[in-house]
Assembly symmetry: C2
Homo-oligomer: 123 residues x 2
Amino acid sequence: MTAAAAPVTLSDKLKLIADHWHPRIIARVDEHYVKLVKVKGEFVWHAHADQDEMFLVLEGNIVIRLRDGDVSLSPGDLFVVPKGTEHCPFAENEASLLVLARSDTDQTGGVASVLRAEDQEWI
Amino acid sequence: MTAAAAPVTLSDKLKLIADHWHPRIIARVDEHYVKLVKVKGEFVWHAHADQDEMFLVLEGNIVIRLRDGDVSLSPGDLFVVPKGTEHCPFAENEASLLVLARSDTDQTGGVASVLRAEDQEWI
């Protein structure tokens, strides 16, 4: 088995993350990144003009606010924000998410925010 | 909230699947499908020439056999089979997987097999 053939244990990777709204890359599938992120509080309203974005809740609960209503997600719930759709993730308490989006997706869709992560790093 | 904005609860969708090696589509992310599949026994050796394929184990244990070794996966383990890599999934007992691959990915990479699903249907 080559080094590239190592499986990723999500719970192990989550232990490496201590901050919020700072996604870490754990895998690449074609031109998409699979990322893990811990979130707490409210993010910023934004949209990704040309990219869908998938959220899978691993721990905790989140709400993805959309302009026409909220989507509440618990562990094991999956939701895709369609391209061009304004959304604002919110978590009353800390939650852990798996996120899938194309590697060129800007976290805030170009919206300035102190919550915007400076980099996209692998763990 | 529009109908398109409904979350997908993985455990609910898994209850709808009774057969093995027959993936069901639960979401689309850009040109990729997110699928659920139950597996048991050995699949067929194959490769996808131009598409990566991601496996995330939800229930049970699987082995992804590669030509240079086995990758053993338990619930919460994720693995990407790189494009062009021969692989053969195996599960001694039934396991449930989330699979991500481009929508034009042939399940067996063109290899004839009685295990090959006839269709790609949404649930």
